[in-house]
Symmetry: C2
Subunit: 429 residues, 2 copies
């Protein structure tokens, strides 16, 4: 194995720029730990002259990142552009084909093209490392690949999106509205300033869930449409009501094998206040792994931000420098089978349903009739009247209800003119 590695870094946003500085200041630490020398020999970004936290060396700047991947001198390429396709895919693909090790925090890319790219890596005998794609600074992927490698993992779930967790925590603490708290999150850098949608609608968390599934269950990445709901419709009112019932609302990503079929989903959940997951607040992420024989393993840490992400990217780099395991998903491509998908309509879940209704006689009875029709039994019902507006909030906590029936029930309410808004449905965890 060679003793000196040339590194290219593409994408110099918050994360790329922070990492650039880490690579420069920690090369001696890296040498002590691995016996290898590193040198950043090429960088590329959209804008050469943008103001950045750490100065870049313009002499090694390439306008066209693809030129870098053709450079025979590059041993390791770090992609930090962040698209699911386009230039990100092209860069990683070309690098792997040119036998360059690749490191990326890009969950969109890996969750979409991870199977293809990992096959390329395996074929070309180079590493494709993406620890930073899930859980930021939480070493969750390496833990599954290495530390829990011989466990039979049956379920992995957690808080995988710091933006949503921050917003929900803040809404609970301040009683402020979703849109106001989102604005604050954007000001603090906890939410994307231009388009925060992919965080808020569950897409980001679902990409992470897909990567976790593939690693935990040793299967190909699933490419079916999954249950994906975000937090955009949750109102302060919901947080206040569940607070009184001793719950909090958390956006959870969950993946599990049910009768050997994969059930992946992302949606808000009511979680009990006195549980572990109910107490992971703010921008923190947490992942819980249920495996045998290890039992329950919990990992918690900062889920985003340049520091935490850089820590994970550096661990990928050290793994390459130390010559550690190569299969990007822990096992060879031939051993990773397609996974059967669980029919989510069969699943049962207790539900929180909030309906805004006209405060008139008979309204409740039409709702309970529909509930009964779809075999949804009520565990608790709370009616909160608003005398001024002559409306009421009806909140129902159900016993376990079938997912398909719940959908039909909600659909059946559309025609009910006494219901003033689309009802809010949140699953209990």
């Amino acid at each position: 194995m060679k003793n000196s590695f040339n590194i290219a870094l593409i994408g110099l946003g918050q994360i790329g720029n922070y990492l650039y500085n880490e690579l420069k200041t920690k090369s001696n630490d890296i040498y002590i730990k691995t016996g290898k020398k590193i040198k950043v020999v090429a960088i590329s970004a959209k804008n050469k002259n943008k103001k950045r936290q750490f100065k870049i060396d313009k002499k090694i700047f390439y306008k066209n990142p693809l030129e870098i991947t053709k450079n025979k001198n590059i041993d390791i390429l770090i992609e930090s552009v962040g698209l699911s396709d386009g230039i990100s895919k092209k860069i990683v693909e070309t690098a792997l084909k040119n036998k360059i090790h690749v490191i990326t925090p890009n969950k969109a890319l890996i969750s979409k093209h991870g199977d293809y790219l990992s096959e390329l890596a395996e074929k070309n005998k180079v590493n494709l490392e993406f620890e930073a794609a899930v859980g930021g600074g939480i070493p969750i992927l390496r833990t599954i690949k290495e530390s829990l490698a011989t466990n039979k993992i049956t379920k992995v779930y957690g808080i995988l999106n710091g933006t949503c967790n921050y917003i929900l925590s803040q809404m609970e603490d301040t009683k402020d509205s979703f849109s106001n708290v989102l604005k604050k999150a954007q000001q603090l850098g906890y939410a994307e300033p231009v388009n925060p949608k992919l965080d808020l609608n569950g897409y980001d968390a679902l990409a992470k869930v897909k990567i976790l599934s593939a690693l935990s269950f040793n299967k190909k990445i699933s490419n079916t449409k999954n249950l994906m709901e975000g937090i955009e419709n949750i109102e302060t009112k919901d947080l206040e009501i569940v607070d009184q019932l001793n719950y909090r609302i958390k956006l959870l990503g969950i993946t599990e094998l049910i009768n050997d079929c994969l059930y992946e989903r992302v949606h808000p959940c009511l979680v009990k206040k006195n549980t572990y997951i109910g107490n992971v607040n703010g921008v923190m992420n947490a992942v819980i792994i249920e495996g045998s024989p290890v039992g329950q393993s919990v990992l918690q840490g900062e889920g985003a931000g340049p520091g935490a992400t850089s820590s994970a990217l550096m661990s990928d780099l050290l793994s390459i420098l130390r010559g550690n395991i190569k299969y990007p998903f822990g096992i060879s491509k031939n051993k990773r089978k397609k996974v059967k998908i669980y029919d989510s309509n069969k699943f049962s879940n207790a539900l929180y349903i909030r309906m805004e209704v006209k405060d008139r006689p008979g309204v409740l009875s039409t709702i309970t009739k529909q509930l009964s029709k779809y075999k949804i039994s009520v565990q608790r019902l709370i009616q909160i009247p608003d005398h001024k507006k002559k409306t009421a909030s009806i909140v129902i906590i159900t016993h376990n209800a079938n997912e398909l029936n719940s959908k039909k029930f909600l659909k059946s309410l559309i025609l009910n003119k006494n219901i003033l808004k689309t009802p809010i449905l949140i699953r209990l965890f």
Copy 2:
């Protein structure tokens, strides 16, 4: 690298026997993940005919474990005897000298002889792996060595002994006495049946702290006498009093660098009920790492038991089979310097002090006089009289008090005839 590995397993107690079964039943999984075949070719234990959960193959049983280490066929030896010296040390030492990879969950051995043994491993170019020595199923050592490798770690602390945590949780929940709860823990297998002392007096947790320090701070293992206090003197009364003050009592292991000097200690702590660490109950272990740039990382899981321990031992095995990093402490022996030791007398801590006194005029005043002499200022004072016995409990929560002064204060009370028992001192975290 060879494709087939012969394994010897020495020690067939609860853990060894469980692992033996795992090795036999999971050899195909291991082959899929590593491309290597394994075979258990030699076993040894004190008692060949003891009744065990899983049957052993008596044809490969050796009466003398040292004979195994001389066997040229052995590639990997797993030591699960558990002594800090004696036969455990002899086995590991001989194996390493004979270029056999060694895996051990033996924290007593590693915390005492880890530097010497890791030098032997390095010299003979074999692995010495001991993930299971700290935190059972929690992948804490590999996380420090690999995932957080380029972070500057400044503090590591946590609940490192499941026996003590179980006993304290049970005492809090049931209001039962230390000795009764200990008996129950012994019946359930959570405490050693014959000699639970090494768990209860903090020795076990301190051994783990020493290993964590060496890895986190890239130094030699410290061999100074450390602050080590157990839970044997804690009474149900203390748990009841702190409960009212919104605290719990946890036995914490803590290691940190203060001005580049190492301060390791194990002692009971008052922790706030609403903190993360205050909610790790029962036999669970948890470790919190403070590093830069990663921030705070938390790992929680089952700290003991054959399942969790086997999971960690298997991860060590896979690391060897995959040819992963070799330095047992993450960096080469030449780079691991001796560490300077922090003078614990300089440390300051808020304190909980409970004194049992005769209920007489002037008693409190003599105590407060002594407090004032040793510059310990009182934040809160609670006096609970026992009119029948004409005694009282005086509980003081202090502001930050110097460690040396606190010791002197406690010593000064010995001559005070109004104080009926050795006072209980618990530090606030």
